[in-house]
């Protein structure tokens, strides 16, 4: 059987009609008890399992997933990775993720197609340029890469962008982060799943949580559609379902769920080399390796769990794209979809123990979950294995809401994250 992925193994398997490839992961039956149980087989849940096994040597772990691996927001996002944040707490978090992403393909022996093509967040006025400078300075002080672009530098990386002063949103420059880019979202989930499986983690799909087992005021595991599974520590990593599961566990969360829509155009030959975000139009875009323009924008305005696209937001996002790139008027929309994101009051994630002892939370990433997967996994694994916060996750504990100590990036930088 061929386990290791490489050009050589591809050549070898090509000569024997691909017959020797091993399963990417097993499909085990759930055991009645694990040391640690992770609810949610998306990127964050799988990464948590992987780092628990690899960094903390805890192998008796299960990841349970009610549907299919990576079927939540991991498979529904616009694949952008970046760490262009304002507050030092956020930079530490997202830059940890970006650093881990930079070596993740080799680490997992799975090409996640990390493409550090850079992101430019446009500034459309002198006032926005001042805010851009504020952000760039913050990023440099906080130790991540950032440059303040003028309009010529923007034009160099985005030749088709309309930078005419007559544009509705003229371009003055922008915030550039060169290490940002995109990664193949499914590959991240599959890569973590395969690597975690190799380390002995049981990944159990089609296994839905029905209720929490609460004994002596602690969470002792869950009852699932495939029977009871017990564990001393349980983690809930279920973006888009967090409030719903929290209600089963008996508490509320500072979360509202919204649909975040995205869409792709028909594929075309390369025309857009970086990721671009325009606060003016509310649109961001990149071009996938397959040639599709991947287009996203703001959240829908109606709280929802319906994973469906809708017209008003789509129309706004698409018109924003065409305003930025008039030649894209020739293209067609090929597919439209939506993920359900957990939005917290400060748009920052929640990492920490829940009001139910023994149950730990990784949720509230809003629109930013995908880019944070390696960090979310690392930090939650640390918390589950040691019982203590990592320095980087401490500010994101749910206790910040009662303390009033929010980490509100939109408020701080003036740029929606």
């Amino acid at each position: 059987m061929t386990r290791h992925y490489s050009a050589l193994s591809l050549l070898k398997e090509g000569l024997r009609s691909q017959q020797g490839w091993q399963q990417a992961w097993r499909s085990p039956e759930p055991k009645p008890r694990y040391d640690i149980l992770i609810i949610g087989g998306g990127g964050h849940g799988l990464a948590t399992a992987y780092y628990l096994a690899k960094a903390h040597n805890i192998r008796n772990i299960a990841v349970i997933e009610k549907g299919w691996l990576g079927g939540g927001n991991t498979g529904r996002n616009t694949t952008v990775v970046r760490s262009n944040y304002f507050f030092p707490e956020s930079t530490a978090l997202y830059d940890l993720a970006l650093r881990l992403y930079e070596t993740l393909g080799r680490d997992l022996n799975y090409n996640i197609m990390l493409s550090q093509r850079g992101i430019v967040t446009l500034a459309h006025s002198e006032a926005e340029m001042e805010m851009a400078a504020r952000t760039v300075n913050a990023m440099q002080i906080n130790g991540t890469d950032a440059e303040l672009f003028g309009v010529d530098e923007v034009r160099r990386v985005l030749p088709l962008l309309n930078v005419s002063p007559e544009a509705r949103y003229p371009v003055f420059g922008g915030v550039w982060q060169g290490r940002a880019g995109t990664a193949r979202h499914d590959a991240v989930a599959w890569g973590y799943a395969r690597a975690a499986d190799r380390l002995g983690v049981d990944i159990i799909q089609s296994c839905e949580v029905e209720e929490f087992l609460i004994e002596g005021g602690r969470c002792r595991g869950v009852k699932t559609s495939r029977g009871e599974i017990r564990a001393e520590r349980t983690a809930m990593v279920v973006a888009g379902h967090s409030s719903h599961l929290a209600a089963k566990a008996g508490f509320r969360l500072p979360i509202t769920s919204y649909a975040l829509q995205a869409c792709v155009s028909e594929p075309i030959k390369p025309v857009l080399d970086t990721v671009v975000l325009s606060p003016g139009t509310g649109t961001y875009a990149s071009q996938s390796d397959k040639g599709e323009l991947v287009i996203g924008g703001a959240l829908d305005r109606v709280p929802s769990y319906g994973q469906r696209g809708n017209l008003p937001m789509l129309e706004g996002v698409v018109s924003g794209l065409l305003e930025m790139f008039p030649s894209f008027r020739q293209l067609r929309l090929m597919r439209q979809w939506a993920g359900i994101v957990d939005v917290t009051p400060d748009s920052s994630p929640i990492l920490g123990e829940s009001p139910l002892p023994g149950l730990f939370l990784n949720c509230g990433w809003g629109t930013g979950g995908f880019k944070a997967i390696p960090a979310g996994g690392t930090l939650l694994a640390h918390l589950l294995a040691t019982g203590k916060h990592h320095d980087i996750s401490r500010p994101f504990d749910p206790d910040r809401f009662a303390r009033g100590r929010l980490i509100d990036e939109a408020a701080g930088s003036g740029i929606a994250h």
Binding site: R252, I255, G404
Partner: protein, 94 residues
């Protein structure tokens, strides 16, 4: 595009409406007696139900603030209710 029923204007497009939070999220009064936890729960904790929801909305074109029961999964709207005159005293407003 959803259609929401303003209790005064009748059905209008969702783009005319603004979400106002959970119905029944009563503001804790008497600021000296309110604990950090009670205040944070009012400010931040949300029912955020998957399914039947009971919410406050504002119809932006006429300014009506009202209560609406709807489903957050299939988006069916059950009913909308006007708030009582003299303030949101029907136990369901903020």
């Amino acid at each position: 595009m959803q259609l929401f029923p303003c209790p005064f204007c009748g059905p209008r497009s969702e783009t005319e409406f603004h979400f106002g939070g959970d119905a029944g999220n009563r503001r804790p009064e008497g600021f000296r007696a309110v604990t950090d936890g009670e205040w944070a729960a009012y400010l931040h904790d949300r029912n955020n139900p998957r399914g039947a929801a009971n919410e406050i909305w504002m119809h932006m074109t006429c300014g009506e603030v009202f209560r609406m029961e709807r489903d957050t999964v299939h988006h069916g709207v059950a009913q909308a209710f006007a708030l009582l005159e003299g303030g949101g005293d029907d136990g369901l407003a903020h």
